[in-house]
Symmetry: C2
Subunit: 167 residues, 2 copies
Amino acid sequence: MEDIVAQVMRQWERIHPELDVTPIAVIGRLNRCVLLLQQATDAPLREHGLTRPEFDILGTLRRLDRELTPSQIARETFASGAAVTKRVRFLEERELVSRRPDDRDRRVSHLALTEQGRLLIDRLLPEQLGYEGALLEAMAPERQGELADLLGELLLLLEGRLGVRQP
Amino acid sequence: MEDIVAQVMRQWERIHPELDVTPIAVIGRLNRCVLLLQQATDAPLREHGLTRPEFDILGTLRRLDRELTPSQIARETFASGAAVTKRVRFLEERELVSRRPDDRDRRVSHLALTEQGRLLIDRLLPEQLGYEGALLEAMAPERQGELADLLGELLLLLEGRLGVRQP
DNA sequence: ACCTGGTGTTTTATCTGTAAAATATATGGT
DNA sequence: ACCATATATTTTACAGATAAAACACCAGGT
């Protein structure tokens, strides 16, 4: 059976037989998989009143297990500073994250999970991982492993080529 | 060398050793790859004054090589009706797409590429594919093939599981 | 002490996308 | 013919994102 991207590729080949459409096989499928996965995995978060990027901020603070400045959060979550400002404001209002001024540099603040925030992320993460695992479970673990390896190879290549600096 | 998602996984394992974080190996990498690829591949389109979803509408009309109604475009491009309305309005203003009423059903309109629109997509598509191919070229063609196959397997699985109807 | 340039963060203006309501029309049963 | 229901599309109201400007502060040179 053929997935939808294969159909699209055949349509293009009919119109432009001279064109090499193989990039679509990888990039088109990546886009489509991510769209479907995002729709599926964002839904449970919304029920807890969180967007994916807000969840990512809580997760970043938890997994690094220390205070972070807004800029560090922006770098870790690949978001703009402005976006972080808004998300952190929301998380502060919900008392999931707290802010402390820096001693030396008064431009800087340090953000940390509140007790409530830590409890929430520790409850949500296993739930979220379970849900994600369930989406993948129809794929054999070895196949998942191969896929993960190939994606890692691609990611490393893209990070290099597109000039990403690590925080 | 380790990609950034592998680092994130190790951080989580340190915090929650009991948790199975393998879904991140696939889903985290997918998200990150797509973000990087989108940033890279949207840039050339912007120079032509098009967003990715607008480009997708032109591409859909071209590859199906016939008129489409707004609803059909919405289904083909996985967009909401409202989004299609806006994008088509913009494309009509730029005279890349034209609209014709249906003979039988006055709710329906039929959209087609204008001469200008066809010329634009026929110029942009090879350019875009070339750019995408260049991003992938550091990966051996056989590896790309394996990756495409695994993504196809995943996509088919997700389309089945998440209940997608084909247009 | 006072600039100058740089950095960290927030604000502003603007754009895009969506859900839900509104509009217009079609279809089938009575 | 009329009504109820369904469908195609657009409009509206609003949420979220970004780029650019604004703001606040620091650090080094003079």
